[in-house]
């Protein structure tokens, strides 16, 4: 299909052309809609059907809700849910608090070389999964890892970051925090800069101290942005895949097995597409549920 251009100087589109004034907007959205239908809408519905089947190709057979029954009775699924929830509850608040403090610092006029620090803290969030994963897997090594070397300067004994269930979780939290704190800080920074200066000036005239100004002006003004980052980070963490995939592979002892990782394992290691699709739908339900709950809280 070709778009026929009207010759310059003509007011109307040639009559027989496919491109009529009425059609133009539809032609413009057509590529996007095609992509949406083939690679989003259809797969979402197909996954729904696949989740009700077992086997693949010609051997695929309809089994109703069997996969979902299996899911509810699968201890590994509950483990993955528990791990994901644990990382969510620990990592997101730490990260967002650090990001807020960082943004306040980066916004302070007392600080020298602000531009440079801003540049640096944003860099980790641009790293690709493999670069970041390889980097961390080496940094976190028990012997001769960079982090353990750094800790040894303070007299701390080497920690088996990726080899013990407890530390492996901490390692994932550290990696996530390293990767995304700067990103959130930059979002907060933009929010801080959009708060009208005269609000602060008026408060100073009224004799409000810096703590008072923070709680009475900064936090309320930043509220929508704070909420946005909470929602985005929650949704992102619920789908956590990259870090455990590269760093721990879900181990040791499934302590870092996340829902997405479990989905991947069932789908592309065991080729159990029906079960993987059921996990995907459970994940969707959780993500959408959290999203709606957090949006509701914002309205209040």
């Amino acid at each position: 299909m070709t778009l026929t251009l009207p010759r310059p100087g003509r007011m109307t589109v040639p009559r027989r052309s496919f491109v009529t004034k009425r059609n133009i907007p539809y032609l413009l959205v057509l590529p996007a809609l095609l992509g949406f239908m083939v690679f989003k809408a259809y797969p979402i519905l197909a996954a729904m059907y696949i989740s009700l089947t077992t086997g693949a190709g010609a051997a695929r057979s309809f089994v109703g809700l069997d996969n979902y029954v299996r899911l509810v009775n699968d201890p590994l699924f509950w483990t993955s849910l528990w791990n994901t929830g644990l990382i969510l509850v620990v990592q997101v608040p730490i990260m967002l608090l650090l990001a807020l403090l960082l943004a306040l610092g980066l916004n302070s006029s007392l600080v020298r070389l602000r531009g440079l620090w801003r540049l640096g803290v944003f860099m980790p969030s641009l790293t690709g999964l493999v670069a970041y994963g390889v980097m961390f897997s080496v940094i976190l090594r028990k012997d001769a890892g960079l982090l353990n070397w750094l800790l040894s300067l303070f007299g701390v004994d080497p920690i088996d970051w990726l080899g013990s269930p407890f530390w492996a979780r901490i390692a994932i939290v550290i990696a996530l925090t390293w990767h995304y704190t700067g990103y959130n800080a930059v979002i907060y920074l933009a929010g801080l800069q959009s708060i009208p200066k005269d609000l602060y000036e008026a408060a100073m005239v009224d004799g409000a101290g810096s703590a008072r100004r923070f709680w009475s002006i900064t936090v309320p003004q930043l509220r929508p942005i704070l909420l946005l980052t909470v929602v985005l980070s929650t949704i992102g963490t619920l789908q956590l895949f990259d870090e455990p995939f590269v760093l721990t592979g879900g181990g040791p002892d499934n302590s870092t097995l996340t829902i997405s990782l479990y989905l991947y394992q069932n789908g592309f290691r065991y080729f159990d597409f029906g079960y993987a699709a059921a996990i995907a739908y459970a994940l969707t339900l959780i993500v959408v549920g959290f999203g709606i709950a957090q949006m509701r809280m914002q309205k209040r």
């Binding site: 690679f39 797969p43 696949i50 944003f122 790293t127 390889v134 990259d242 590269v246 789908g267």
Partner: protein
């Protein structure tokens, strides 16, 4: 005094953020055995050429870089065109179904990628596209975030500007090319950088969709390298440094656009 304390704290945070990159670059110039020396080596070594040669031998560095660049450019260019056209329609035209289409396109932002990956894999498998570049490029052409960003920015362009061109007899594509694109250049640049980095770093889908090592993109090739029983980290570090390089360069050149693009609503992960 207080300002200096704060500056010091921020410099320390900066070190934590950028330090690993520095160490990575240094590690790329040392032999495997020296990378894990204690204390770590924070100075350049003389093994960069040797590590690079080994990397070329094990993954075909040049070929893999070519694949990655081709796929990333094609994805970026395609998604930009699709986003711009759709964003233009949503911002500047009235048509039946406009709001419905827009909401539908955006609604997929909240759907976890895991849901679509299995059907897309089966689809690609059925039509014989597994292990081909179209399998990597096609699914990423319709980007809800890009469409949203384009629509938002186009809403800010006054209709009078477009109408003036139309009165002068320009067709819609001409208006788009001569009026809209020049005005939109900074936003297009921001989107291009985002899409390019996303495509350049893409891992999971290429890992699933590619089979033969000759087709691999850099992240997939590096991951297979790391999975070997006895990893030679010298070459892994070179590859990792190379894969981080475009990001650094693009970011340094385009930081302003970057951050405005980010604020338009990019998502985590």
């Amino acid at each position: 005094m207080k300002g200096w304390t704060l500056t010091f704290v921020l410099a320390a945070v900066f070190g934590l953020c950028v330090g690993p990159f520095y160490w990575l670059a240094m590690a790329a110039t040392h032999a495997n055995s020296d990378i894990f020396s204690w204390p770590p080596r924070f100075y350049p070594g003389d093994q960069l050429a040797a590590n690079t040669a080994k990397l070329e031998e094990s993954i075909g560095l040049v070929n893999v870089l070519g694949n990655t660049l081709f796929v990333a450019v094609a994805q970026t260019a395609g998604a930009i065109v699709v986003s711009l056209l759709a964003g233009y329609a949503f911002a500047k035209f009235q048509f039946a179904g406009r709001n419905l289409f827009f909401v539908l396109l955006l609604s997929t932002l909240v759907i976890p990628g895991g849901v679509t990956i299995i059907p897309i894999f089966e689809m690609m498998n059925d039509i014989g596209l597994i292990d081909s570049f179209p399998a990597l490029i096609l699914p990423s052409l319709s980007v809800p975030f890009g469409i949203f960003l384009m629509r938002q920015s186009l809403l800010a362009i006054p209709d009078e500007l477009l109408d003036a061109a139309r009165v002068d007899g320009a067709g819609e594509l001409r208006v788009l090319w001569r009026v809209v694109i020049p005005v939109m250049r900074p936003v297009l640049a921001a989107l291009a950088v985002f899409l390019f980095l996303g495509a350049w770093n893409d891992f999971l889908w290429p890992l699933i969709a590619l089979r033969t090592p000759e087709m691999y993109t850099l992240p997939v090739a590096l991951a297979t390298l790391q999975g070997l029983a006895r990893t030679d980290f010298g070459q892994v570090m070179v590859g990792t440094a190379i894969s981080s390089l475009p990001m650094m360069v693009l970011f340094l050149i385009l930081q302003k656009q970057f951050i405005s693009g980010l604020l338009a609503g990019a998502t985590k992960g």
